[in-house]
Amino acid sequence: MSGYIQNFLKFRPLLNELVSRDIKIKYRRSVLGVLWTLLNPLFMMLILSFVFSNLFKFNIDNFPLYVLSGQVIFNFFSESTTNAMSAIIGSSSLIKKIYVPKYLFVISRVVSSFINLLAAFTALLAVMIFTRAELHWTMLLVPIPLVLLVVFSTGVGLFLSAITVQFRDVMHLYGVFTTALMYLTPVIYPLSLLPDTVKFIVMLNPLTNYLSMFRDVMLNNNLPSLLGVVVGLVEAIIVMVIGLYVFYKKQDTFILNL
């Protein structure tokens, strides 16, 4: 175990470099640069709230905030896992040639997505202030859902990246899966709108739990329910353990399949 930790410490600078590379490459040659991480969710919010407050009428006050908060959480999950999935394949030229702890490539993708999440979060705060939404003290608890979400996404990312090396089909399938998942997460619609059977399925989705925790502390001035936190924690840990296990078991065969 101490060997693993030592190894991680030795390669910690690499994590910084990989993350800063991801961010640099993403915004190289764009005039607005990092500002895009802020602008993108704002534009999406404008479109969605325009569409949904005119076409369908949901009974939610401050719908833009509702949509934006849903997007912040869901986009992080889908972005981090999608990027993590291709982390190993994308670094194949490196992995074939020098020894580097391979999980670092996955972690670096999740961390870069987390930086995007922080930018989107800033956008959310800006909209809250702009629309004069009340700012509550419960907001200080926002690290709880975020940390759980990051652990959960890292687990999923590790699992996907290991599986994708062997079966590239996963890459194509996952795009469809995330689209389906988006509709199974109350990003746009309120939970109360659903008939009971569908609601049951949506409640089974771990993201629903993280998202409602996030909305509770950010928008609704509610403390997250203890049950919600415990269930979220257990789900995150289970997924993380599965991800680590699969990754660990598969990592020596990566080089043969790349």
Partner: protein, 244 residues
């Protein structure tokens, strides 16, 4: 004084399974699994290779193409895990396996210096200290802010060599790297390697140029189809090798 053993390879065997058909997709795999048609051909790139390298030695690996030289180096570098046997390493390893493997084409040379350094396990401070030396050695002063994708292959390998040989690693692995660049640069590289040997670095060297091997190494392992054909002092093995 007894020199300490820095690399100890014991009965290393490496087996690659060449699937007679390659599955990239799940459907095929499942169908073949059910029909029990998943068959593999085995290919032993290395079988039962054992040798030891003492500190300060420079070991040359020679052999024809496909004799397992690079596979051996990869197992020592930790990229491959041997199927059987063990490789025990005592010290830090700086791999020079394929120059420029760690570069990101879109980043500038300067950014790549830090990225590559981190891949070798150096932090930013250490790289900042070594930066000037890297620039001077690679003679790329004017190009440090150019993206690497615009570099010629000679420039890439100069930069990569300069980065990989900063500091004094305990073990330096060179796989055919001195064949790059013009002769002026090759000479510079050889000098640098010589200086590292003098400083006590153990060198593992692979090359097809028997002259280079003779010049740099004092011990040689001759591989042939994954078996050790001969090992011992450089002179004796080279003699045999050039007569085969």
């Amino acid at each position: 004084m007894e020199q300490k053993t820095v690399i100890k390879a014991e009965n290393v065997s490496m087996c690659f399974t060449l699937a007679s058909e390659k599955f990239d997709n799940f459907k095929d795999y499942v169908i073949k699994m059910i029909k029990k048609q998943v068959s593999y051909d085995e290919f032993w790139a290395l079988s039962d290779v054992s040798f030891e390298v003492k500190q300060g030695d420079s070991l040359g690996l020679i052999g024809l193409n496909g004799s397992g030289k690079s596979t051996m180096l990869k197992t020592i570098a930790g990229v491959l895990k041997p199927t059987k046997g063990t490789v025990v390493i005592d010290g830090t390893v700086a791999p020079l396996i394929e120059l420029g493997a760690g570069f990101d084409a879109d980043l500038t040379a300067e950014e790549n210096v830090y990225l590559n350094g981190a891949l070798l396990g150096y932090d930013r401070k250490q790289m900042e200290a070594a930066y000037q030396d890297i620039v001077e050695f690679s003679e790329l002063q004017e190009f440090m802010h150019t993206p690497v994708k615009n570099f010629s292959s000679g420039m890439v390998s100069r930069l990569a060599f300069a980065i990989a040989t900063i500091g004094t690693p305990d073990i330096l692995i060179c796989d055919e790297v001195l064949s790059v660049g013009d002769f002026h640069f090759q000479e510079k590289c050889e000098q640098r390697i010589q200086r590292m040997i003098d400083a006590g670095t153990t060198i593992l060297f692979v090359s097809h140029s028997i002259q280079q091997v003779k010049k740099i190494c004092n011990k040689i392992v001759w591989l042939d189809h994954g078996h050790v054909k001969m090992q011992g002092d450089a002179e004796a093995v080279c003699e045999q090798y050039s007569h085969s």
